[in-house]
Symmetry: C2
Subunit: 285 residues, 2 copies
């Protein structure tokens, strides 16, 4: 299968990510159908040109017409959905997702899936601190890192289609990682950072701090505003990799604390020189 504008796209889950994906693909000229559990997101998405058609109940005819399905559900809900409705999939359909954890879902999904369809996992590295289809924007993907996460079961064609979706959405760097590499990486750059921001906000209940903060505190804690249901599920599904990253961070941070305690200025300077150099990598991309 190649991606041409006559392909039907079905987005399952019309939240922030699903809505943004839908809008991005519709802007590219595709026919986009959306499913959601409630009527309101469907009505909003129809009224705002985010989807061409939409249903708040599963419509088996729409499933049968879809060439590409994009899942923007919580990980566990994704598996349950597929188990129940894969019987209606069009032969040759390509299924992808935006889920933030991979090992715990990709193998299970590929194991239960029919042989004549293909699930190729993906993770667009973008998001916002607001939720719901009403905050969705196709701009979210522009320039974002887009990670394609194949296994041995995936075909070259499936991987190419997944990359092409990223390109159509305007993603910046499109990379390929194994599920295990993805989860280790995401444990560090995404989950650990969210843990840090949440723990920091839990370390003081002083409401007056708002009068004294600078941008550094506001930037560092931006992601402390967090969807607890989604992120607690993501953390626990990636438990092993996340715990490893948290333990490494605790060791490094405690070492720094001891340097302060022991007036080890040279040690602190060394750490800061390393952090300055490494942070520079992220500006030069």
């Amino acid at each position: 299968m190649e991606i041409s504008k006559d392909k039907n796209i079905l987005i399952v889950g019309l939240g922030l990510m699903g809505g943004s994906f839908a809008k991005g693909m519709r802007n590219q000229g595709f026919h986009v159908c959306g499913f959601a559990r409630r009527k309101e997101p469907i009505e909003f998405a129809l009224a705002n040109g985010i989807i061409d058609e939409g249903y708040s109940e599963v419509n088996t005819d729409a499933i049968s017409r879809a060439d590409i399905l994009v899942f923007a559900l919580y990980p566990k809900a994704f598996l349950e959905w597929m188990d129940k409705y894969q019987q209606y999939l069009k032969p040759g359909a390509i299924i992808t997702d935006v889920t933030g954890v991979k090992s715990c879902i990709v193998y299970d999904m590929q194991a239960i899936l029919r042989d004549d369809v293909e699930f190729i996992a993906a993770h667009p590295m973008c998001g916002r601190e607001v939720y719901g289809v009403e905050n969705s924007t196709e701009k979210m993907f522009i320039g974002a890192n887009y990670i394609v996460v194949p296994t041995d079961k995936n075909t070259e064609n499936g991987i190419e289609i997944c990359k092409e979706l990223g390109r159509l959405l305007g993603a910046g760097k499109i990379s390929v990682l194994s599920p295990e590499e993805h989860d280790e990486m995401i444990g560090f750059v995404s989950q650990l950072t969210h843990c840090i921001a949440v723990a920091l906000m839990n370390s003081s209940d002083n409401h007056n701090l708002v009068n004294y903060t600078g941008d550094s505190f506001r930037d560092l804690t931006r992601i402390a505003r967090i969807n607890e249901n989604m992120w607690s599920e993501l953390f626990l599904l990636n438990k092993e990799a996340l715990i490893k990253q948290m333990d490494t961070f605790i060791d490094v941070f405690k070492n720094m604390r001891d340097m302060v305690q022991n007036d080890d200025r040279e040690g602190l300077c060394d750490m800061m020189r390393i952090s300055t150099e490494r942070r520079g990598w992220f500006d030069n991309k």
Copy 2:
């Protein structure tokens, strides 16, 4: 003394903060003189309208003419400077600063200072990840929190002048804290956050991460690009308050780690609900 446009301002230390302060006051119509140790920042500041006059060697005549002196030096250098040159100060001169730590310097400074001049400490909560007068901008202060840090030795007039400087620079909220309150607060909102960002960047040497990160990681680590000489001095000068904040954070973070380990989803959700609520305070300011 009241602040009127015929007052002479002397900025000692023409780096990012000193240059920005100079530019802000000069834009308000004041005569601004600048001191720096090297010729280049003086030449740059003169050529770019940041100061009216400037010297790369201490000019005792310029000190004698100054009504308001603003110190933008490292904390220890500030004390040494004053010890050496306070003999030239004009009677009635008001001295303020932008230093990031207070208890360790304010009392010492006020103890050595002549009785006919007044040091009123201040801390504008702003900065950038770049250095030097060439990056200075008067916009840095606009809307920033500005903290005035008096002791029993300060007069109402001195405090008012210091607040007025903040207003003239365009600061947002201007607050008053004791040196001890300031240092406890700064240990949390500024120093702890910088420690976290530095420690996080020291927790992985994987250069490929740049291809996988989202905005959350980039925002959280922005301040990992850090002036190691200045910040190591600030950390050690505020050691007691900083260690206390680091220990609190370690406890909270380890507790969160154990929740992940023990599949305590409800505990994680509770922490995230707290962080979401508290982070909301900082958006509504």
